[in-house]
């Protein structure tokens, strides 16, 4: 490529012109994603949902091993609509395990200080964000969730996602809630919780996708709950 005077001058003129066009267009990106700063388009930090401490259930609901209950933990998140912010339900499941475990996953998130036989998982699938179910009978996993036959060591309650059939084991050694089958790249997300007397208090949730359908109070007209 030959360097000509005309080419050099054209390039020199083009740089400020292109810069000016980018400067003019940059507010449009903020129009699409109005974060807390001009250059924060590629970050999610200003938009992270927040919840605070909430009582989600009682220890006495989990008397025997494999007892469980579903609960919801409410977080607020930024919404790019006139209301600006909305509450969102993060569905979770609390399970009593047959033995005590360290409720810490391989990502380094500590769900509970010390050993515990009560574990709280976020039911938002870490794969693509569907809500997975607690399946108390592992035969149901084989029948309804993609034909996976658990090995003898997994013949107990499992967690399984209806969308892409990821299967999670709440007692997985060293990483409770890890994935044992299906496309999920990691184990189920944790809630951070404390036990105060009989109350199970959730103080935080592992960062991840949150699901949101209708504002609190609005009810579905048909039985799909």
């Amino acid at each position: 490529m030959k360097l000509e005077r005309r080419g050099v001058i054209k390039t020199l003129v083009a740089i400020p012109v292109i810069g000016a066009i980018i400067a003019l267009l940059s507010p449009l990106f903020r129009f699409l994603k109005p974060n807390d700063g001009a250059w924060n388009i590629f970050t999610i930090k200003p938009d992270l949902p927040a919840g605070g401490a909430q009582v989600v259930g009682r220890v006495s609901q989990l008397a025997k091993p494999w007892d469980s209950f579903y609960f919801t933990y409410v977080q607020k998140f930024v919404q790019y609509d006139p209301e600006g912010e909305e509450a969102s339900n993060v569905p979770g499941v609390a399970i009593r395990l047959p033995q005590k475990v360290n409720f810490t996953n391989t990502e380094g998130f500590v769900g509970f200080q010390g050993e515990t036989d009560i574990v709280l998982f976020s039911r938002i699938c870490p794969h693509l964000g569907c809500i997975f179910n607690y399946v108390s009978d592992y035969h149901e996993v084989t029948a309804g969730y993609g034909g996976m036959e658990p090995p003898a060591s997994e013949h107990h309650a499992l967690m399984a996602c209806p969308c892409h059939f990821s299967i999670y084991d709440p007692t997985y050694p060293g990483d409770p809630g890890n994935v044992i089958s299906g496309p999920a790249p990691r184990g189920a997300r944790y809630f951070q919780f404390e036990i105060q007397g009989d109350n199970i208090v959730v103080t935080g949730a592992e960062v991840g996708a949150i699901a949101k359908a209708r504002p609190n109070g609005a009810q579905a007209p048909r039985g799909d709950a």
């Binding site: 999610i44 339900n89 996976m148 790249p185 799909d224």
Partner: protein, 383 residues
Amino acid sequence: MEAVLANLKEWFQDRKQHLDLFDETKTGKQDNPLYILGDLVWLSWMAVIVSGIVLMLWYIPTTTGAYRSIQHITLDLPFGWLVRGVHKYGGDMLITVITLRIYRMYFAGEYKKPGELSWMILFLSLVLAMVSGVTGYTLEWNQRAFWAAKVILTVPTYYDQIPLVGNLGLGHAIAYIFLGGPALGQGTLTRFYAIHFGISIIAVIIIEMFVYRTRRRRLNLSAFAIVLVLVFLAFVSFMNLADVGDWANNNRTPLPVLSDWYFLALYQVVKYMPPLWAGVAPALLIGYGMLVPFLDRTKETRATERPFFFVIGLLALAYWIGFSALILLNIAVISRDPPIIWGITVVVCLLAFVWEMGYRRRKAQRAAAQAAARAAARPAGAA
């Protein structure tokens, strides 16, 4: 540099001369029913646009109002079922005829010079139609649509985990921009409504400019055929009342949950693959589709004279039907199938390659034999 630009311009002008958007008068064969597919694309698209504008009169684009307004349109309004049916089944028909036309162009070799631009625009129109489809059925705000939108917009977040590139935040930014926040909600519905409407309106403006400048026809069908298609759409709407499903519920994913029919095969692929691959695979597929006129450099248009690309097309068709069947019949075993599918793919591609090489060798031998025969005949004729 300027020579390259001039070449590009010439290439573009030449392909524009042979551009067949709808009427297919350049591709010819007017007696072959496969060549009304282009007209059917325009006709079904217009049916969708007109019925869509009527639906806009009654649709309420809010998370609380959308579901009920669609029930109201379908069940209460006079001829609401017809308008909604024509919109839904017209959209299905649009995607069907675009897909059929893509396969016709592929197997008939019509993407080759000078049809490259026609092919690329048609392929892009399939992608846009599918985006319109997913943004459109989310507007119903029912369970199927909610979870499909949720899954599809979680896929880009894995683009932040591409090895070597690292986390640029780009994938999350894409998801956030489409979701209108970190989660599916009112922001998503508003943006999807805008995208659903915007795709068609911008395409109509561009195409009307093209038609105005080139005086090409949009529709090359007889009045009888047009009426027949519209009556067919009305009949299907009448026989098969468009379903609304269950109201979206963010606390419960139904089991089983399916996507719309044209995403079923992709849905099955997502079950088999790690999520990053599942996000990259459709991009590669679109890339292959757009670039196939430049990958297949031979001049032959008959399928058996370009064996490799013929077999790849058959394989894609077989996968599309096969995966859809697997998910509809619910007979796949996620932990068992992937090695089998990879095995079939590798063996079929290898066999196709062997066929291609063998075909080329035989062709070269034939050409050499003919040249030799000509060389032997020429002195005799001269003498």
